[in-house]
Structure formats: C-alpha cells, structure tokens
C-alpha cells in the first residue's frame, strides 16, 4: 500500500511539472437544465372578484358556453345578443340596437344554407339590423361567411298577403272571432305589407273596394263591411283569387319571401271550381304562394292536398286560437331576415 501511494505521488508531482491543466473556457459554466416545479403555478391566485351575470342565470349549458366565448364581429365589436340552433350547429349574434335574436329555421336552397332570423330591439319591435352588426358562427365559434341584405322597406321586401275569410252560413258562430282577429292581424303588420282581403260564400268578394292590394294597416274599416254569414262555400274559387297574384319566379331572389295566402274556413268546398285542381296547384307553384289554412272546427286532411302548406285545426276556443294563429304569422311576415351562408 505504501508503495502504491508513493507511485501515485510521484506520478502526480511529475505530471504537474510537465503538463499544465486548464479548462478551455475560463468563465464559469452556466446550468444546462432548468428545474421547475409545475405546482408553483398553482399558487398564483391573487385578488378574486366575483361577478354575477344576471343575463346568464337562465342559460342552459350550451348558451352559457357560447356567452362565455365573448364572440366578436369582424370589426372586433363584442356580440351582445345571440341565438343558437344546436340542431343546425349555428349561432347568430348581433350588437345594439338588437336586443334579442330568434332563429326561425335553417333551410338549404339550391345547396346554399339560409338561416331565417328575427331580430328585435329593446322595445320588442322587429328590426332589420345592418349587415355589419350581425355575425354567424358555427359551434366551434368559427365565423361563417354570410351574404345578408337587410329587408327593411317596401322596395326591398315584397310582402303580400291575401286573406280569404269563409263567410258561408256555417261560419256564423265564428264570424265575429274570425273578423276581429283578422282585423288585429292586418293592423299589426308593418306599413310596407300589402293586403288583399276576400270573403267567400257562394261567391268570392273583395272586401277592399276596387279589388286591389292596400297597406294592411289601412284595412281596418273594410272589415266592418262584412255581410252576415250565409250561403255555400266557394273555397277553391277563393284560393284561385289568392293564388292569382303575380310573384317572382321561384329561386330568382334568395331574399324574397313567398306571397302568403291565409284562409280561415270551417268546411269543404261546395261550389263548382272555375279552375281544375291541377291548374290551381300549378298557379300556386308558379306564383310562389305559401298557403296557411286555419280550420274552424272541421278538418278534412286531404281536401287541400298540394294547395295548403300548413293547416291548423282550431280547438274549443276559436277566438283565442285564431289570435294565436295570426300573431305567429304576423311575427313571421313582419320580420324574418334571410342570411345566406356562403
């Protein structure tokens, strides 16, 4: 052992005499590895403020998630109101003056999706916001490209309504309810909406003198001239009058709303029609007519096949049901905006 230590000392002292040992970089080396504790990031909370968002207290989970995304318009403004169609995976958002948004449906027209929306202001009036004040998003919150031109004047929108009121003898019990709710409906439509009103029994008679379209809001006095209910039911001839109004050919204007024919009747046709049924169906289609029928009491589901788009059958309270029927149509006629997704 002593011998080994001696050799070691000899080698070391000998080496120190002959070699110089130095590090290539005289500067102290920096650490290569950074050690950090991820749990340190947990203890970072400072001042916490809680804010109760009363707008969100009734939100379901999806609505709340969308609300907390703070969606913005292309120009950076924060969306303040929105509606979601989960089924269609669409969110429509808007800023002031919109205070409420309602998605009525999403349709596909010639391969293009069109969202039907109603916008309201804070007075609950239906409004047409500017294109730059709305945005459409999918459920991943990605903004979608849209083509939207607000419909807000008679020149931009062609809403035409024909009201066909059954005045045959069997309607006598419902005449008052039908006239009053029709009158309120017409009076509540925007000034740009045009109305034609017919009553029908054995014949079809225009209620507005001169058989012409007038502003719906100006038709109130005409309803006072309805004669007492009597006679047969010329339902098909009344439909012909309603369908005969000229409409733009289908598909030429994506923002065009169909012309509406609204029928209130209590029974089937009992007068020989002047047009065969297939021609009546063709007339409806050519003129882009949508027919909504309110059946007071009786209903034959096949009677208006291909002639009616929607049929509502009244229940016990004709007055209440008719009011609800017209209120729904009124809302739709007055303010549905179409937003094309491109």
């Amino acid at each position: 052992m002593k011998k080994l230590i001696f050799v070691f000392l000899f080698v070391c002292t000998g080496a120190s005499a002959e070699f110089e040992i130095s590090t290539p970089d005289p500067q102290p080396q920096e650490r290569i590895f950074e050690l950090s504790d991820p749990d340190e990031a947990v203890a970072k909370l400072g001042i916490v403020s809680f804010m109760i968002d009363f707008n969100a207290t009734q939100d379901d989970l999806l609505t709340l998630e969308v609300r907390r995304q703070d969606l913005r318009l292309a120009d950076g403004r924060l969306i303040t109101q929105f509606a979601i169609s989960e089924k269609d995976e669409i969110i429509v958002g808007a800023v002031a003056p919109v205070s409420h948004v309602s998605i009525m449906g999403v349709e596909t027209q010639s391969g293009v999706r069109v969202v039907q929306v109603i916008f309201y202001d804070d007075q609950q009036h239906i409004i047409s916001p500017r294109a730059e004040d709305i945005g459409v998003y999918d459920l991943t919150y990605a903004a979608l490209q849209t083509d939207y031109a607000p419909l807000k004047s008679a020149s931009a929108i062609d809403v035409s309504v024909a009201l066909l009121l059954d005045n045959s003898g069997s309607m006598s019990a419902f005449q008052s309810a039908a006239i009053n709710s029709s009158k309120d409906f017409a009076a509540g439509l925007p000034s740009f909406t045009k109305c034609e009103i017919f009553t029908f029994a054995s014949d079809v008679s225009p209620l507005v003198p001169g058989n012409k379209e007038v502003a719906c809001a100006d038709t109130e006095s005409a309803f006072d001239k309805v004669s007492p209910a009597s006679g047969a039911t010329a339902l098909m001839n009344a439909l012909e009058k309603g369908f005969a109004r000229t409409g733009k050919p289908l598909g030429t204007d994506p923002f065009e709303l169909p012309k509406l024919v609204i029928v209130v009747t209590d029974g089937i046709n009992t007068v020989t029609p002047s047009l065969p049924r297939d021609q009546l169906v063709g007339l409806k289609r050519r003129n882009n007519i949508t027919t909504l029928v309110y059946w007071v009491g009786h209903h034959d589901k096949d009677h208006l096949q291909n002639l009616a788009d929607q049929e509502i059958v009244g229940r016990a309270n004709a007055k209440q049901d008719l009011e609800a029927f017209f209120e729904t149509i009124g809302t739709t006629v007055a303010g549905v905006q179409s937003i094309k997704l491109i």
């Binding site: 991820p38 403020s49 939100d59 907390r68």
Partner: protein, 231 residues
C-alpha cells in the same frame, strides 16, 4: 378442555372466515376544494371538518374499518392523501389530512384535472376488487385552471370544464353514491345539466345521488349520515 378449545377455535375461525368472505371492500373518493375560489371559505373550512368527523364516525360500522380513503385536491388535481379510515385515529395522519384540505387562498382551481384523477382512482379501485365506492365532492364548482393569474374576475354562472364527468361517474358500477356539497348556487343548474346523464344512470341503478348547494350542505352536514350504508 383441549377439545373444547379446538371446537372454539374452529367455530370462531370458520365464523371469521365467513364474515371476511362477506365483507365488502369499500373505497371512498373525496374530492376536496382547497382552492382560493371556494365560496365562503371560512365557513367552508368548518364544514370540511364536519365532513371528516362524519367519515371518522363511519369506523363504528364494521364494513368501514378497512375502508380506503383517497383525497383528491381540486387545486392540484391530484390525490394528496391515501389511507384507511382507521388512520384518522392517528393524530399525525389526521393532521396531514387536515393540512391537505385546508383552504389555500392563493391556489387556483383545476376541477377538470380533479375529476380526471377521480377517473384514474376509480379504475384502480375497480382493478383492486373494490366492490363499493362512494364519491364525495366538496366544492363550489368554480374553476380557475392553472396558471390562473394574480387578479381574476369570475363571472357566475361559469361553464363547467370540458372533462366528461358524467362518463366518469357512469363507467364504474361499483359506485354506490355520488354526493356534492358546498356548490355555489349560481353553479347549480349548469352543473346539474352537465351531470344529467350520470344522474339518470345513478337513479335508474338505485344508487344515491345528492347535490347540495351551500345552504343545503349546511343542513345535510349538520344532520350527518353522509354515506348511506346499505347491505
């Protein structure tokens, strides 16, 4: 005498074996919110202690003598205390647990991670043959995942984390009971909607589901019997 003792040992021995065979292997998963965003933190601290006291009182029932307790921290998103309920009699172990569940005012809250940890723990207990698992959640269900920043404004109601909690709770048939305590009332309905599939499954499987907001927790935790013992 020798014969008598043999008979005694045999009888007791067989008896003991029988009891052992029938004993359930019980697990308790306690998710505890010790973050700085728990509502009414001081009072929450008192009720956390009540919860612990009630867990300890379960030791009076034979099934729970060897029950395993996993305590998951919502701020860390990890299990921070594991032991048998019986260990709560040990003052050092009890103090360790109290330290774990105490509110840390500067801690963020990671509810998603806490429920993912629960999922892991449930899978482990299933693999280990636990046949009854009780899930207790003491949290205001307000989330501020790390790194949450120093000054935070939280709008309530707040959407729950994306973690599929309903799937976690329905994936293990061993779960006997799921109870939520100290839920902020503004978080109640969005969380109930999120948990809805689990609630339906638990109820249709005759399992117990409870969801107590703060006020209801005060009542439930004072009343006791947080775990419904069923045979």
């Amino acid at each position: 005498m020798k014969i008598l003792l043999t008979i005694f040992v045999l009888v007791v021995g067989f008896g003991a074996t029988d009891v052992k065979a029938q004993e359930s292997k019980v697990g308790i998963q306690l998710i505890i919110d010790e973050s700085g965003v728990i509502s009414d933190p001081e009072e929450a601290g008192i009720f956390k202690m009540r919860l612990l006291a009630q867990l300890k009182s379960l030791l009076r029932k034979r099934d729970y003598a060897t029950a395993r307790l996993d305590v998951i921290s919502t701020s860390m998103g990890r299990t921070l205390w594991v032991g048998e309920l019986a260990e709560l009699k040990d003052i050092e172990r009890a103090e360790e647990l109290i330290e774990v569940i105490e509110t840390k005012p500067n801690h963020c809250n990671n509810l998603g991670a806490a429920f993912r940890e629960l999922d892991y723990n449930l899978a482990q207990r299933t693999a280990e043959g636990y046949d009854k698992v009780y899930v207790l959640v003491f949290s205001s269900l307000i989330n501020t995942p790390r790194d949450c920043g120093s000054n935070v404004t939280i709008k309530l109601p707040q959407p729950p984390p994306k973690t599929d909690i309903a799937s976690i709770l329905t994936a293990h048939d061993q779960i006997e009971q799921v109870s939520f305590y100290w839920v902020n009332p503004h978080q109640k309905f969005v969380w109930l909607e999120k948990l809805d599939p689990a609630v339906k499954w638990l109820q249709s499987s005759a399992k117990k589901f409870e969801f107590h907001d703060i006020e209801a927790s005060r009542y439930a935790l004072k009343k006791g019997s947080i775990i419904e013992v069923r045979r």
